[in-house]
């Protein structure tokens, strides 16, 4: 569907054309992004980078000017976690873990807090979720540093679990659908005795993933449980709370381009519709219009895709 002046007009059920309240102007949005980048993201994203990204939008869904406005509005609402914030999330995650574990009276009956903490440390081992080289391993390093955990708190492989260890905690950044985590954990922990407590520590989870993993006796502890408000085009979306009239248009635009960028999941993996990323990578649950990178599309936020075989030779150049 293409619209000329229909960018600012929607049609009501009765066929009358209704003017949409305008989104903030391009200048206003750019000014807001500038301040966000300067004070929060602390990246070197510049207007030139944004202009390059905006040039991706060629009026395939709506009028060019309107598409740019929608794109900038989405970018304004993008949530980027810088290094300091990721470090803080690691601390929050660990504190949440301790808090929940110490509340478990079965484990620490009669002990005071310092004793319980010591016991917990002795009976717990941490590992990353997923393969080495994935984001779980990356965060594990920060997790150890920020919480001043001894190296002995970490295992080199989930199968190599000492007998006395009662709690094994897997760490990851994002567990939204839960399906990947479920598969992985089912595979890696199937040999565990029933008395082992399996925990997934993740920055962000959803009720869906919590429920799914609980069925596999895996307790999910997260910093934040994302709800519908965090999905860009849901009815409860926080992005369009003040501009609900533009939601459908924005979704259509994201789909129009998303289908070309990431045909299987034009709005992010498993229809995520998310709009966040970390300083080290952007999850593929986030809208592809932000991170897709390839011929004909310049990203505004970087995503390092998982490559399952080969790849670097073409990047090195002639000489090695």
């Amino acid at each position: 569907m293409e619209a000329s002046n229909k960018d600012l007009i929607s049609t009501s059920g009765g066929g009358e054309q209704i003017s949409l309240p305008p989104l903030p102007s391009e200048d206003e949005l750019l000014a807001q992004i500038m301040i966000t980048v300067d004070n929060v993201w602390k990246t070197d994203l510049s207007k030139r980078d944004i202009d390059k990204w905006l040039s991706n939008f060629t009026g395939q869904a709506f009028d060019l000017k309107y598409e740019r406005q929608i794109a900038l509005w989405l970018l304004v609402n993008f949530v980027y976690y810088n290094e300091n914030e990721v470090r803080h999330l690691c601390r929050v995650l660990y504190h949440n873990f301790i808090h929940q574990m110490l509340q478990c009276s079965l484990l620490f009956q009669g002990s005071d807090i310092p004793d319980s903490l010591e016991q917990l440390e002795n009976m717990t081992r941490f590992y990353h979720l997923g393969r080495p080289g994935e984001s779980g391993t990356f965060i594990l390093y920060y997790f150890r540093q920020e919480n001043r955990l001894p190296l002995t708190s970490f295992i080199s492989h989930p199968l190599r679990l000492p007998e006395r260890i009662k709690v094994v905690a897997f760490i990851d950044d994002v567990t939204l659908s839960g399906s990947q985590a479920s598969k992985y954990l089912e595979r890696e922990t199937r040999h565990y005795d029933n008395d082992k407590i399996k925990v997934l520590l993740t920055f962000f989870s959803t009720q869906e993933s919590i429920r799914l993993l609980r069925e596999d006796s895996i307790e999910v502890i997260s910093c934040t449980t994302l709800d519908d408000r965090s999905r860009c085009f849901s009815g409860n979306s926080s992005v369009f709370y003040h501009f609900p009239e533009h939601l459908k248009n924005a979704e259509l635009m994201a789909l129009t381009y998303g289908r070309k960028l990431y045909p299987s999941d034009p709005l992010g993996y498993k229809n995520g519709q998310y709009f966040f990323g970390f300083f080290y990578n952007t999850p593929d649950n986030t809208l592809p219009i932000f991170w897709a990178d390839g011929p004909g599309w310049t990203p505004v936020i970087r995503r390092y895709q998982k490559i399952f075989s080969g790849g670097i030779e073409n990047d090195i150049g002639r000489f090695l």
Binding site: P114, L117, R229
Partner: protein
């Protein structure tokens, strides 16, 4: 929990001694006490004002005494909708004792609470801080600790679904209008003797004008910012930073504490205190109410800390919309 240092100022002990109690209520009202001795609530037209009371009533809970803080500034609004919302607590058919008060004078109101000591002494005691202004609930908690000698209180708080930004722009949030004056929070003047330096800890809120005014007035030697992160909604951590841009340029540190967890704020303040011994610590609780609650808990523990707050000419009638999560905290007052 506290000890006297050699300088004679109180310092809060750092060894973790207690597991804090913070629970997301959702549908778990039936798991909470069915009977309340005294429940303190603030009159307000915000839907969150009586959300907890409503939910308790739906679950059949009983309130022996509800102390309703009836703010003159709020109860005579000419707008019909706001007036009706303010008085909607009446539909709950509770035994309510109205305490007339003014938003601008928490101290007079608190002094009048002596008349209601019988009701207040009826345990268990709870307070819903969702619609109290910060100076008010700070002083109430201090009063409950020092005059009633309460050791612990149940605190309820309901998050808003969203904050209102005019034109949708994140920098357009205003919680108040008109002239601002910065005051010491009544009851929390701090102790600045024996201190060579003054630090200001700002718990960031969305309204950047407030922090600018406070920083100018207090003129600290160092400013430390505490941002509510993770926030109620992921983007909120950015909004507070964006709207306090000028403050960021002058601050020496940016720390974080969960926006919905007063105990974490308490811990962060304790950490700051240990890093800045022998300084006159000022706290400006401009962030979320749970963070302010943490600041209140800390300031009650450590009287050397001053709490400063901007009092506006008038508060915006509506700054938030709808309700989201409700929390219950067991707050120690020792």
């Amino acid at each position: 929990m506290t000890c006297l240092s050699s300088e004679g100022t109180r310092r809060v002990n750092v060894q973790p001694k207690k597991l804090y109690s913070q629970t997301l209520i959702q549908d778990r009202y039936s798991a909470l006490p069915r009977e309340w001795g005294c429940f303190l609530v603030a009159g307000g037209s915000d839907y969150r004002a009586y959300e907890v009371l409503r939910k308790f009533c739906e679950h059949g809970s009983v309130f022996k005494n509800v102390l309703f803080f009836d703010f003159c500034e709020r109860n005579k609004d000419v707008d019909e909708t706001i007036y009706r919302a303010y008085n909607s607590y009446m539909t709950l058919n509770l035994k309510v004792t109205k305490i007339p008060c003014s938003i601008t004078d928490a101290s007079s109101c608190i002094k009048s609470l002596e008349k209601y000591s019988k009701e207040i002494n009826c345990s268990p005691t709870a307070i819903d801080i969702s619609c109290f202004t910060k100076p008010f609930f700070f002083l109430i908690l201090k009063y409950l600790k020092e005059q009633i000698r309460l050791k612990c209180i149940t605190v309820f708080y309901t998050e808003p679904r969203s904050y209102l930004f005019s034109k949708g722009l994140l920098r357009s949030y205003h919680s108040s209008y008109g002239a601002l004056t910065v005051h010491e929070m009544p009851g929390f003047p701090g102790i600045d003797t024996r201190c060579t330096q003054k630090i200001l800890v700002v718990l960031l809120g969305f309204d950047g004008e407030l922090s600018s005014f406070i920083t100018e007035e207090v003129a600290p030697d160092e400013t430390i910012i505490v941002n509510g992160f993770p926030g109620y909604s992921p983007k909120f951590k950015d909004i507070s930073l964006i709207n306090n841009e000028r403050l960021l340029g002058t601050s020496s540190e940016l720390l974080y504490a969960r926006a919905d967890n007063p105990f974490e704020t308490f811990n962060v303040l304790g950490k700051i205190r240990r890093s800045y011994e022998n300084t006159f610590m000022n706290i400006a609780p401009l962030g979320t109410k749970p963070m302010a609650l943490g600041a209140c808990m800390y300031a009650i523990c450590d009287p050397s800390v001053r709490v400063v707050y901007p009092l506006p000419e008038r508060y915006a009638n509506v700054t938030t919309e709808q309700c989201w999560h409700s929390w219950v905290y067991m707050v120690p007052l020792v």
